[in-house]
């Protein structure tokens, strides 16, 4: 499931999605996230999927408690959105995304 879009150097938006196994909720979150990014951040983002069941030690770094958690590592400051990202408006506010234009 872990895959990188456009493995280039840096993107305006560096996003990490923390999940724990392929639960329906995680899959749902990933689907919701890709949809929003494609719509608003085409070509300007990268999503990293981190499965804590495989790498539990990574939970410490971003202070992950809730699953799924989306972390916006860039642009700073760090922002976190927890939940299955089903509410598009909230995700946009949470990621502080201005539409590209």
């Amino acid at each position: 499931m872990a895959k990188k879009r456009e493995a280039n150097s840096t993107f305006e938006y560096e996003l990490r999605l923390y999940v724990a196994g392929q639960t329906p909720r995680s899959l749902q979150a990933f689907a919701n996230l890709t949809k929003i990014c494609e719509e608003f951040l085409t070509g300007r983002y990268r999503i990293e999927i981190i499965d804590l069941q495989e790498k539990p030690q990574l939970a410490k770094g971003d202070q992950i408690l809730a699953i799924p958690t989306l972390v916006r590592a860039l642009p700073e400051p760090i922002r976190k959105i927890i939940g299955d990202l089903s509410n598009k408006e909230k995700v946009l506010v949470g990621l502080d995304i201005r539409s590209a234009r």
Partner: protein
């Protein structure tokens, strides 16, 4: 629900295993510690010592019981925790380095989190799980998971996740300590006590007369007996110590050995042998009756035997005691130099009763003295707790502790003038073995000290009152004058004694005079007798002389007659003496 019914007679009940905390006194109350493999809730207000309790549980487990521990902190960073723990003498960093402990700081900041849609706390589970697995922890501290309520909005979800967490910990078989801040009308702010029902411990601190007393109570301990009382506890440099009163039994060994009180006259009153070793002695009296001096004598005598002594003073500094005792000829300084005597001075108001008690306990542990003096007990009432019961309890605990250790305890208590002399404020008089009563007797414009032995268990003590003198060579006991004029002390006694001596002298003189007179009479009579004898002898001699003369004369008359007859030539002589 986590609350599963436990049949009191089930197998589980009988084999409920305990996990020793190592916290002094707590394992006694709980008959072995916390329930092993189950979560325990430690709750209480801010600053009551919840976190320290948890840290001590982990640190002692790692250090003393070979159990590894995981510390999940929601409030303090690992560095802060290490600092807190070092104040109790635990080096968390060293424990971490040796893989006996793992500390994870879980932080949640509401301002950087937005919530959208459904989620769970699997991340938290994974973190806790990985912390536990990293060193195979069997103990865990969660301090305090309620902080999550401040970071996440979905309270219902949080509750169900916490419930799942506690259950999960139980399934993993780790012994968990979960802390919770006390809420209004509830044990914890968010009521997590609902989910932790195996063991609940309540910590509390109360302000009384400006002095804080910490207390601990085991509210609930499923499947185990436990002490139900409120126990005072302390946080001091060696960690938490809980002081169970009731766990101490009356089964201490006693000694038949006797030790000198250091005052010859007092030993004399106690069958000539002094106090029993390991007994407790109370000296009560009004101010200035010599209680401390008596104590100093006991200490002096013990140190001279090479025994260790501990002197708790609540009124005087060590230097002051040394100086004052020097004035009555007792040099305590040399014993301090030799390391036999330790004087511990504290203002009773310095801290609560419990801390005093713990200080005493610790010093007893450290010094292992054979004689302990507490001077005076009474000031403990004035400092801090006005509650006489507390003080009595404390004294009871000291006495019990001393008896357990076989240490002789000497307590002084001040009675104020208005009180009944034969009662102590602390109601401790019935707890002690020997009770000395010191009194002032006022007469003829002076006050004098007297001493009674009010009671002394297990010996035929003197029932007399003795006068108590403080001299440059220490305390001396004199027999008070008991005569028709009553008990006399001080100069009255001296005067009376002088008077008696005078009278005796007078009597002696009188008899001597009479002796002389009589012998003189005797001698006179004897002389008279000699004179009379001489007279009688003289008379006798005279009488004899007269008789002789008369005989001579009659002879000569006959001769004359014969002569005359011859001269007259009257015939032949006629029978003489007839018809001359």
């Amino acid at each position: 629900m986590v609350k599963s019914k436990i049949n009191p007679h089930s197998q589980e009940e009988r084999v409920l295993r305990k996990c020793p905390t190592g916290i002094a006194g707590f394992d006694e109350i709980t008959l072995g510690g916390l329930p092993r493999g189950r979560p325990t809730l430690i709750c209480g207000g801010a600053g009551c010592g919840k976190t320290l309790f948890g840290i001590e549980f982990l640190a002692r487990g790692a250090r003393d019981f070979g159990e590894t521990g995981a510390c999940i902190s929601f409030e303090e960073t690992a560095a802060d925790l290490a600092q807190d723990a070092s104040s109790l003498g635990f080096d968390l960093n060293a424990l971490e380095r040796s893989k006996k402990l793992v500390v994870d700081y879980i932080h949640i900041d509401k301002s950087e989190i937005a919530e959208t849609g459904e989620y769970d706390l699997e991340g938290l589970f994974i973190r806790i799980g990985s912390a536990i697995d990293s060193i195979g922890a069997t103990r865990i501290l969660l301090d305090t998971p309620e902080a999550l309520f401040g970071g996440l909005n979905d309270e219902g979800l949080l509750r169900s996740e916490l419930r799942r967490l506690f259950r999960w910990l139980k399934d993993k078989g780790v012994t968990a300590v979960i802390t919770g801040e006390q809420g209004e009308g509830k044990l914890t702010r968010h009521g997590i006590e609902e989910y932790i029902s195996d063991c609940v411990v309540l910590l509390d601190h109360r302000l009384q007369n400006g002095i804080v007393t910490r207390r601990l109570r085991v509210l609930k301990y499923r499947g185990s007996m436990h002490g139900t009382n409120e126990y005072p506890f302390l946080i001091e440099r060696k960690g938490i110590s809980v002081l169970p009163v009731t766990s101490l039994g009356l089964a201490h060994k006693i000694s038949d050995k006797r030790i000198s009180s250091g005052v010859a006259g007092l030993d004399e009153m106690l069958e000539g042998k002094g106090f029993y070793r390991g007994s407790s002695i109370l000296a009560t009296g009004t101010a200035g009756t010599g209680k401390t001096s008596l104590a100093a004598h006991l200490v002096n005598a013990a140190c001279a035997r090479g025994e260790k002594c501990l002197f708790f003073s609540f009124e005087e500094s060590p230097d002051q005691i040394l100086r004052n005792m020097r004035s009555i000829g007792i040099d305590l300084a040399r014993w301090i130099k030799k390391g036999l005597l330790h004087i511990h001075s504290r203002r009773p108001t310095a801290h609560g009763l419990e801390l005093h008690l713990v200080e005493m306990h610790n010093l007893l542990e450290e010094n292992k003295p054979s004689v302990v003096v507490v001077d005076p007990l009474t000031s403990l009432t004035s400092g801090g707790s006005q509650n006489v019961n507390d003080v009595t309890n404390m004294v009871l605990r000291i006495i019990d502790r001393l008896k357990q250790l076989g240490t002789t305890g000497f307590f002084t208590a001040l009675t104020s003038g208005g009180d009944a002399l034969e009662a102590t404020e602390q109601n401790v008089s019935s707890l002690v073995d020997t009770w000395l009563l010191l009194r002032d007797v006022e007469s003829d414009g002076e006050r004098n000290r007297v001493l009674y032995v009010l009671k002394s268990r297990g010996m035929a003590h003197s029932n007399q009152v003795r006068e108590f003198l403080m001299t440059g060579r220490g305390v001396e006991l004199r027999e008070a004058y008991l005569g028709p004029a009553g008990v006399l002390t001080g100069s009255a006694r001296v005067a009376q004694e002088a008077r008696e001596r005078e009278e005796e002298l007078k009597l002696k003189q009188l008899s001597e005079d009479r002796q002389i007179a009589l012998s003189r009479t005797l001698r006179a009579a004897e002389a008279q007798m000699a004179a009379l004898e001489a007279d009688r002898a003289a008379a006798q001699r005279e009488l004899e002389a007269i008789m002789l003369e008369r005989k001579n004369r009659s002879n000569s008359i006959i001769e004359q007659r014969a002569e005359m007859a011859r001269s007259r030539k009257v015939g032949s002589p006629k029978p003489a003496g007839t018809g001359a």
